[in-house]
Symmetry: C2
Subunit: 214 residues, 2 copies
């Protein structure tokens, strides 16, 4: 490996080498600052991560963290709020891996059968199933997917949710996803990302694609 | 299930029931519009998805889509640009699942050993390994993680990259991640999300956490 580097580097011009040397120096300076900042980061506590905004990537990111944690041998659970009974690639894989997945399963809200009253009842049932998970120290990472809508639609009480999240076990991280997150969720989150839509294939006549959108 | 719904609904006041009925009506109207728009989406072609911006969630989202595709039985591959040799949960799991992962592995850039010349050589080697993947019709989803930095640091040529991505097989979707994406990557992407940092645990003295950050 180091031979290859030497060989290929020798084909660079003096100007190119100088440019790269400057890049190294600049990079090392930036990294020194980052390192100094990182040294101040000493608390290794559990986390609340909130992914909100109208762009693609919130749910994928939440599931990505679950799979990352599984790769470290951690225990995870997933609650899918407001999701229908459509095929879902990540749920298929999680079930193969023995991960508990609770799905609200009120049917696809894009169909005419949508009923807010039924949704509210079902949301509250699923929340009752979520509470024991938020109290279970065996779970390292708990994903509450699309949970923001339950507050926006006033099916659940934000203070109850905040209290349950804050009372969770010391090792448990919680990931919350969904558009238009309540300001109280933003307050209790340690990390908040706003995923903005710059452009989306669906707006350009592209159908939702298996493996990408669902 | 429907019994429970009836039972719980009957405990609602008339005012609450009316509010929920209005919510149903409003929701159905919105969904009708979405459905009309979706009906115009007829092309089920492969996708270029770009996740950029400075917030947490780009890489997690990219890996989330890979796991989603695996859950559908699709074939995936991952190239990690600019990643060190540190432990990585998602790589552990992907390797267990038999997914090809190529890692640049130039060591952690936060350590003093960083050298732009070495990085450039290694980037070009990894790009040579990436080209056959971009040409392999067996791969449904290809993640090029942190690939934007290879252009920002001028280790690779943007036009070469764009040409290789555009010439890929008809079934192959490509996911690109990293801060400060080149405008030409934004142009060729079907879906672009800008992941903005609202707040980050690391800024508040919290150490990078296993299962969440790595």
């Amino acid at each position: 490996m180091s031979n290859t580097v030497t060989h290929q580097s020798s084909s660079l011009s003096a100007a190119e080498k100088q440019k790269l040397a400057k890049q190294t120096q600049r990079h090392q300076q930036i990294k020194k600052q980052v390192r100094q900042k990182s040294a101040l980061a000493t608390q290794d506590c559990h986390r609340v991560v909130l992914l909100t905004g109208n762009g693609k990537g919130k749910t994928s990111s939440g599931f990505g963290m679950v799979f990352r944690a599984l790769g470290h041998g951690q225990t995870c659970a997933v609650v899918q709020f407001l999701k229908g009974d459509a095929e879902c690639g990540e749920r298929n894989l999680l079930e193969q891996l023995g991960v508990k997945v609770i799905t609200m399963n009120t049917g696809c809200s894009f169909k005419d059968g949508y009923c807010a009253e039924h949704e509210r009842v079902r949301t509250q049932q699923v929340w009752q199933q979520t509470l024991p998970l938020l109290n279970d120290a065996r779970i390292d990472v708990l994903l509450l997917d699309e949970v923001t809508y339950t507050l926006a639609r006033k099916h659940l009480d934000v203070d109850d949710m905040v209290a349950a999240i804050q009372a969770r076990p010391e090792n448990q991280s919680v990931i919350l996803t969904g558009r238009g997150a309540h300001r109280k969720l933003k307050q209790i989150a340690d990390t908040v990302s706003q995923v903005n839509n710059v452009k989306h294939g669906l707006e350009q006549g592209l159908k939702a694609r298996k493996g990408i959108e669902y």
